[in-house]
């Protein structure tokens, strides 16, 4: 009975007409930016500036400006990388997998989720680059024909797989996003004049809205969705291999691929929630991004939190059951050692906090959902920190045990990555339709 009622609730509220949809979504682009937008944009730009300054200083001076040491060779850099890649997961999941699964509610959020994916992957991609001792030689990661004799990349190295996985993921996501944008670009073209008409005219690739165009468009979209689907699984699987193929206790675990994928979806969904709740409020899109959307995404968060929690438990169990003293120590140390606080932040944010989402009242309360989504992202950032730093800082030989604390430069770099992300996202909100107009029109109530 309950389900029937749920279904009967329309996906888009407010009994919108087709024209209303267009004007609602495009109004943000027509108006001058609000004061709030300017405020957010300047904060984001400032953060980006801080990040650029810190990164330039680091590249000019040396990796030593980070708090790393002989034992902990990765910390904030790779934590941020995996964090952003994880964020990037929700976009493709929503656009591709949910599309294939005919989850019609996705239409309200897929555009911004995909944009988020692309921006997050951009943020992620910066870190492997700047974490190198000699980033100016980063092109050596690319297997191009060269005159250096038989020098080639090492296809056994997960970092090379990473390179391929991320570049593929980025390309497919970008293409997928752009293909989805074409009908909307045509809409904007048709309702604007001047330079905007020209630009969107080019971007819409001569879209004429004919039946044949729609048919081809939908075929291409379906095919791309099919292509993108395995990537959702593969990218984070490969990222997890960065750790799983090593021999460091705490990294060397077969559970990593599913665990990482689930964690990525978990954090991605949480980030989509964070952004959607903001966009909905600030851009007056309550009718498009409804409580129902939030509710569905909350359930996804809850589900993936369950997988992640199970993984945490399994990791511990495997370690304790393994009878391998190094492995056992790593996990005890992870929870109760000097960096144990990070472990407890991780578990409370990722295991305990999402449990509130079992309650419908919580899922309906956007303020609470917003807070939960932020906490989940904090928790997921710490998950990567815990995996990377607590495994490294005390491994086999006690003589080399060490600790880690970030420098201001590292913190500034993290801040900068958020600055970049929000700068891009705020620009996106101004320049492109944040909701897929064409797709939403398809799910309006008859």
């Amino acid at each position: 009975m309950l389900e029937a009622r749920e279904i009967s609730v329309p996906l888009i509220g407010g009994h919108k007409s087709l024209a209303q949809v267009t004007s609602d979504v495009c109004s943000a682009m027509d108006r001058r930016p609000t004061l709030w937008w300017w405020l957010a944009f300047s904060i984001a730009l400032l953060a980006l500036g801080v990040g650029i300054a810190a990164t330039s200083y680091q590249v000019a001076t040396g990796i030593g400006t980070w708090g790393l040491n002989r034992t902990v060779g990765w910390a904030f850099d790779i934590t941020n990388f995996v964090f952003w890649i994880g964020i990037g997961h929700a976009g493709t999941l929503i656009s591709a997998i949910l599309f294939l699964l005919r989850q019609r509610w996705r239409t309200s959020v897929n555009r911004s989720a995909e944009a988020m994916t692309i921006f997050a992957v951009i943020c992620a991609g910066i870190f492997p680059l700047i974490h190198m001792g000699r980033p100016w030689l980063a092109f050596w990661m690319f297997p191009y024909p060269n005159y250096r004799g038989p020098l080639w990349v090492n296809f056994r190295s997960p970092l090379v797989w990473d390179f391929f996985a991320i570049s593929t993921y980025f390309t497919i996501s970008l293409v997928f996003w752009y293909i989805g944008l074409i009908p909307d670009c045509a809409t904007i073209r048709d309702r604007s004049r001047g330079w905007r008409r020209k630009v969107f005219g080019i971007l819409s690739l001569g879209w004429d809205g004919s039946y044949r165009t729609w048919l081809r468009y939908e075929t291409v979209y379906l095919l791309l969705a099919g292509l993108a689907t395995p990537l959702v699984i593969s990218v984070h699987t490969i990222v997890s291999w960065d750790f799983a193929t090593s021999i460091i206790p705490g990294w060397h675990a077969t559970i990593f691929p599913p665990y990482f994928v689930a964690g990525a979806i978990f954090s991605g969904m949480a980030m989509v929630l964070t952004l959607m709740i903001l966009v909905r409020k600030t851009m007056n899109l309550q009718d498009y991004i409804t409580h129902r959307h939030v509710d569905v995404m909350c359930k996804m968060v809850l589900f993936t939190s369950g997988i992640v929690s199970l993984s945490y438990f399994t990791e511990f169990f495997t370690a304790l059951y393994s009878n391998n003293p190094y492995e056992q120590f790593t996990f005890i140390n992870r929870a109760f050692g000097p960096l144990g606080w990070s472990y407890w932040i991780m578990t409370s944010c990722n295991v305990l906090v999402p449990q509130f989402l079992w309650f419908k009242a919580v899922r309906r309360n956007l303020v609470v959902v917003f807070l939960i989504s932020i906490l989940v992202n904090v928790g997921m950032w710490f998950e990567r920190f815990v995996i990377i730093v607590t495994s490294l800082h005390r491994d086999f030989l006690p003589s080399s045990w060490s600790t880690y604390s970030p420098t201001t430069i590292e913190i500034a770099t993290l801040v900068g990555s958020f600055g970049l992300f929000f700068t891009l996202f705020l620009l996106f909100c101004r320049i492109l339709p944040v909701i897929a107009i064409g797709e939403v029109k398809g799910v309006l109530e008859e």
Binding site: R70, M132, T245, S246
Partner: protein
Amino acid sequence: MSTQIHKQYWKALEERNGAVPEDLHPHHPHEEKEIPVGRRDFLKLAGFTVGGTLLAGCQRAPVEKAIPFLIQPEEIHPGRSFYYASTCGACSAACGILIKNRDGRPIKLEGNPEHPLSRGGLCAVGQAAVLELYDSLRLKKPKISGKDVSWVEVDEAIKLRLDQLRRTGGRLRLLTGTLHGRTAAVVIEKFLGTFPNAQHIVYDPLSSSAISQAYEQTHGQRLVPRFHLDRALTIASFDADFLGTWISPLEFTGSWRAARRPDAEHPLVPYHAQFESRMSVTGSKADDRFPAAPAEIRYLLRELTSLLAAKANVPIPDRLKQQGVPASLSHVSLNKVADRLWETRGHSLIVAGLQDVESQLLCNFANHLLGSYGTTIDLEHPSRQKQGNDRALAGLVSELREGAVDALLIAGVNPAYELPLEPELLRGVPLLVSFSPYWDETSQLAHFVCPDHHFLESWGDTEPVHGIVSLMQPALEPLFETRSLLESLSAWAGELKSAYEIIQENWRLNLFPLSGAKTFESFWDQTLHDGYAKLQRPSVGAENFRTAALEAVRSEPLVPGHALALVLYPKVAITDGRHAHNPWLQELPDPISKVTWDNYACLSPQLARDLKVEEGETVLIRKGNRSLELPVNIQPGQHRGVVSVALGYGGMMTERFAHIGPKWLEALPSIGRNGRVGQNVSEWLGLTADGLSYELDEIKIEKTGRKHPIASTQTHHYLTVPKHLAPRGGERRPIIQETTLAALTEGAHEETAHHEKHPELWSEDHIYPEHHWGLVIDLDACTGCSACVIACQSENNIPVVGKDEVRRQREMHWLRIDRYYYEEGARVDVAYQPMMCQQCGHAPCETVCPVLATVHSSEGLNQQVYNRCVGTRYCANNCPYKVRRFNWFDYAHEDRLQNLSLNPDVAVRSRGIMEKCTFCVQRIQEAKIEDRRQNRPLLDGEIQPACQQSCPAQAIVFGDMKDPKSRISQLIKTRRHYRVLEETNVRPSVGYLSIVRNRGEHHEETEGKSHA
């Protein structure tokens, strides 16, 4: 403007060959105008001129000729290194060295394997001396009142003053450290002989004067005997750190090692008991180590003596009779030690490092009872390495206090820094001459500074042990306008001769007759070639033990005190501070504490708990009106009633380190609030007629609440993981394995070591067609002395990073020595483990590098390709041994001149790349090329990595594991052999031999071998 080539046709052969006869080149003024000098030509010419001038300017005009190669000897080629035998002058032990010269400059010092004292090793301090040769802070010219002048001016001015002294009969005092060269003695005697009232006073900052005073009383000769540890089966040491810093540690390490034969058919490991207040290197290797307060150590020595006297049935004065061991010393099994000493009498040895004549008298008596004289102690050919006479020093100080010294000449020591003197004392001397090569505390006070050479650029001779002489020879022209002490003194005595002439003349006269050689030339050449010569010197004529000397021993009952004692001690690298300005030595982790760049107050864990202080917090040490604030280092094994502080820090010369290390936003300086590295504690030394004393009773200590972070390379010190984090069964990691002599003896015919076999996924992945290099390190022999660390640093151009970087755990040493404690009840065991790249067969680093910057060689080496490295650091993360080092910054060398000591065979690494131990691949290649050139097979032992070469204990063996006859293959088969983290199946090429303790317990489980 033509730049075309004007063809010059030659008219005669002479002209073509360059010799242009005037008449063949008719003068045509018209023609000259035809060849205008264009802009480009002008620039070319100008370039050549400037370049040529610069090149010409780089040529040093030689002053003293060290025979340049007019005709290049056939065997010498630029780019190939050759070796000179010489003698180390870094301390008074005078070990034999080989100076590795490359392209005309010394780049590394190595031990001379044929030298009878040092037997091939060279300690950290000796190794680091090569850096000091190129120290741009050395004085470049003599100085008068702080101003640079020429030698002529100095000589004139000083001669004037000295002549005045000769006339007036004023008191001249020459204050030096130990100078055991016979030539120096002759020159000094001659120089002092020209004065009516002159005296030569010798002191050692690390004094052994009490020993020589005691021998004067017991054997009628002022001497420090030569100890033969290789002949000892039982050693009892009372605060003598003979493996660390005492008298001649390198020699002692070699002979201590020679006595250990745990792998022989009848395993033999001498028993060694150490009584000491702090944890010393020697104590860490002892089979039984008894922590005791300084007063207790004396008491225990007396008790032991009376126990031995009872066994020997020798009557002793009543007051020396046994008084029983008080409760505070109940942990000391003195009877056991006495029994063992007595059992092996004739092959027993008691050494005492106490600066206390009474204790030394008792020590001599005990050795006499044990029959050590003539076997383990040589009095006929004693050591000459510690000539200091503290009584004479005290006499000088009282003369200075009276203002009775008219001229003081100071060479080889820095009394203004290292003695507890008021600065006014030296300032008040009318003529103060310093021979220090540095602008240090003493030369600052001096009216004249006449800088001495570095020992690598000077001629010199030494006689560290009666009858064993050796030469120092210059390996390059003096870099600065310095002059040897011998030359200065003889110039002022009226003879202007070079040190070379002086030494040769003296050797011809005095040493050659004792050599047994046919001609002087052959004797000289042979000595120069070998680095040493043995002379048939008559014995010094020590008498038999005089029991009467014991009368001088007063009896003091042991006062069970709760007062704290301060013990000042020398650290392995910094010793008395004379090399404290050497960045390599400052950054060398102390073998025990693993702390760099500072001295600190060592407290026992219990005292630290009582004071509620933690490491890195500071304490205030007070006595009377003296106070000293130092950071705390909690030292397991330290006696609870003792605070120990290292000497040699806080010197003026360490102010140079204000700017060492990378400069960036959050960088902290290497120096402390006083602008120097560490604190000088010399004012806490005692200097009385009894000599220099390194102990102080009844000090007060309090917590300050302030912090002074110390830079330690190791933060966790135990093999056991922290108790609250320990998984069941995995508390102690099987990284260090130990066995006992009893276990080895019992199972002497057991099977050889078995190694775990793991399944192979890629068995054909690496085949080693010719060689498979490996290393075996004997942990039993390793004393942690860290000579190898500096050898590696010198060989492989490893930068110094400064205190802040070490504190951030970013030291760059490719080879480190892990030090672990293991506590069993009250006993603290120490284990050292040199750890470097293990050159794994299944190297985890190799698979993860995305750009193939680390690859496996066909000889089993894990090669790091610096050019290819992009610096992802994944290899370092994935290294289970954490031996990879990353260039976090561009480590510019502080001193450009010091770059001359870089090894041209090893690349200097730039920022952002990974580096690590290469097994000294440059040495492997050099040997291989040489052998291929000579068409002969590689011999086992021909390749020695720098660490193996420097090891005084011969704990490191390098070799080809594919060659079944090689020494390393034999060692791999021994029962003690194991590999660290073998269970991870990374297949390390480095193996270790377990530690052997000579302990009563019959079977202490060899840790880890049975581990799952």
